[in-house]
């Protein structure tokens, strides 16, 4: 226990780092993922091809390799950003592929008849999308999106090895201070459990909110 109480501020900083990294990357992943999902369901062929390529490549790229490319590769193009931004870029792009697939399969769960009915009532495209399709797709998306976000939170651990302050990285500091390594890791594990459980609780809540018997 004293490992935690003695180093509360180290752990707290690490935890906040992980939390912040998760939140910002999640925001980027959601925006990018939504855009790419829009591309993939659009009637414009080049956009569809681009979307498919984006998802296929990113889903089959090891995240470590992506970090490697972003953190060490972009500076070769004279793009130097803080490590945190690099980490957000890598995590956000990687997760956006999974977000895209989740959203796309959510939209695909809406029967084509719904759109046809909406259009035959004279709704415009925006209305069809906003009032008919997205509210239905949203329900099918919440649960899988939750697992994507939990995976993202777990993946942030990789950022620690690329010079970002986050929870797993705290073990180095504590190890140097000579604290028992096992207990150091126990508290790191607890930190990650708190975060993943919180995300899953949040999405469970959302799911119950939007659940409708169909």
């Amino acid at each position: 226990m004293h490992v935690l109480t003695d180093n509360w501020s180290t752990y707290w900083h690490g935890f906040l780092g992980t939390l912040w990294l998760t939140l910002v990357s999640a925001a980027l992943a959601l925006v990018l993922g939504a855009a790419v999902a829009g591309f993939r369901v659009s009637p414009v062929k080049p956009l569809r091809v681009f979307g498919t390529g984006w998802v296929t490549v990113l889903r089959n790229t090891p995240l470590t390799l992506l970090f490697f490319i972003v953190v060490l590769g972009l500076p070769r193009f004279d793009i130097t950003l803080p490590f945190f931004t690099f980490a957000v870029l890598a995590l956000g792009c990687y997760t956006s592929a999974f977000v895209c697939e989740t959203l796309r399969s959510g939209v695909n769960t809406v029967p084509a008849g719904q759109g046809e009915a909406a259009r035959s009532l004279g709704l415009t495209f925006t209305q069809t999308l906003g009032l008919v399709i997205l509210p239905q797709a949203y329900r099918a998306v919440v649960a899988p999106l939750g697992s994507v976000m939990i995976a993202l939170a777990k993946n942030t651990a990789i950022a620690g090895s690329f010079s970002v302050v986050e929870l797993l990285g705290t073990y180095r500091t504590l190890n140097e201070l000579g604290y028992g390594i096992v207990w150091t890791f126990v508290w790191i594990a607890v930190g990650y459990l708190v975060l993943t459980l919180a995300i899953s609780a949040l999405f469970n809540l959302l799911e119950r909110r939007v659940a409708v018997s169909r």
Binding site: V41, S42, P43, V44, K45, P46, L47, R48, F50, T56, V57, R59, N60, T61, P62, L63, T64, L65, F68, I69, L72, G73, R76, F77, Y94, T95, F98, V107, N108, P111, A112, G113, Q114, G115, R119, T128, V132, I133, P144, V148, A151, A153, K154, N155, T156, A157, I158, G160, S161, L168, Y171, N175, I181, F185, I188, A189, Y192, L193, T196, L197
Partner: protein, 285 residues
């Protein structure tokens, strides 16, 4: 060229088609601009000089890369070898009739699924002082084995109840029901999901890079940070990334092929319908 069975768009008429074509050209232009910028930057920062590509002509460098690739595949092979039995064992445990066994297996599986893989790898590497390769393999086994356990369990549970009841009615014992009736039927339906999870395992072998395991990425880093070759970072990425992505793509396609074959096969249709819920592998990686 319409998107099939989509609720979003109507079948386009001549006007909409013309508009889509316009958008198509605009999108092509935008994509071409991005690609053009990347290519320009590559030339601008002189990534195609002989000095940067020269190292790949050296025998030693080629061997280094091949050895790295070999180590990656070795870690992957061991992981597959350990994770499948691990998953089977814990899936059986979670389906056990004994509450204590079920409880222990549930805790183990849920814990290892909830932990970031890297935390486990670092723990085994730093605290248990395991050699890098075994730390990597052990971490990958615990994580992927736990995910596979859930896949197996969901697969067995998805076999229609009548199968089990009929088998018991014929007088088969618990183990026989499992081994002769449930698992063979579940197996065919689960195979694509298992292979997709193996793709995740293959991708995650690159985490070995972070604990100095001498795998493919590690070999690339060694070459990329060599001043004698003028820091050929981009060339290294251009060599390594396609190999990694290619390997994972091949395995993903294999999974997709299995799935398509399974959907066609009357055996699977008649036997166990796959319940997709909960069967999708975690997007960890």
């Amino acid at each position: 060229m319409t998107v099939e069975s989509s609720a979003l768009y109507d079948v386009p008429g001549p006007k909409a088609l013309a508009r889509h074509r316009l958008y198509g050209w605009l999108a092509l232009l935008a994509i071409a601009a991005v690609v053009g910028w990347v290519v320009y930057m590559l030339f601008h920062t002189q990534q195609f000089t002989y000095q940067k590509w020269m190292p790949f002509e050296y025998k030693g460098v080629q061997e280094l890369l091949l050895r790295g690739l070999g180590n990656t595949l070795k870690a992957f092979g061991w992981t597959v070898l350990f994770a499948l039995p691990f998953g089977a064992l814990f899936a059986a445990g979670r389906l056990s009739d004994h509450r204590a066994v079920r409880w222990v297996c549930t805790v183990v599986v849920e814990f290892f699924r909830a932990m970031p893989l890297l935390v486990m790898i670092f723990f085994i590497f730093v605290a248990l002082k395991a050699p890098p390769m075994w730390a990597l393999v052990a971490g990958l086994t615990l994580y992927n084995g736990s995910v596979l356990a859930e896949v197996f369990r969901a697969g067995v549970l998805a076999v229609p109840k009548g199968q089990k009841e009929a088998a018991y009615a014929l007088g088969l014992r618990k183990t026989q029901v499992m081994a002769y009736v449930l698992v063979p039927q579940a197996n065919r339906a689960m195979l694509p999901t298992i292979v997709s999870q193996l793709v995740v395992a293959l991708k995650d072998t690159s985490l070995g890079f972070l604990i100095t395991y001498e795998e493919f990425l590690h070999a690339g880093k060694l070459i990329a940070t060599n001043l004698d070759y003028d820091l050929p970072f981009i060339p290294v990425v251009m060599v390594i990334a396609p190999v990694y992505i290619g390997m994972c793509l091949l395995l993903s396609w294999f999974a997709k092929w299995l799935e398509r074959r399974g959907r066609r096969s009357p055996k699977v249709k008649g036997g166990a319908p796959v319940a997709p819920a909960g069967l999708t592998p975690d997007p960890q990686g």
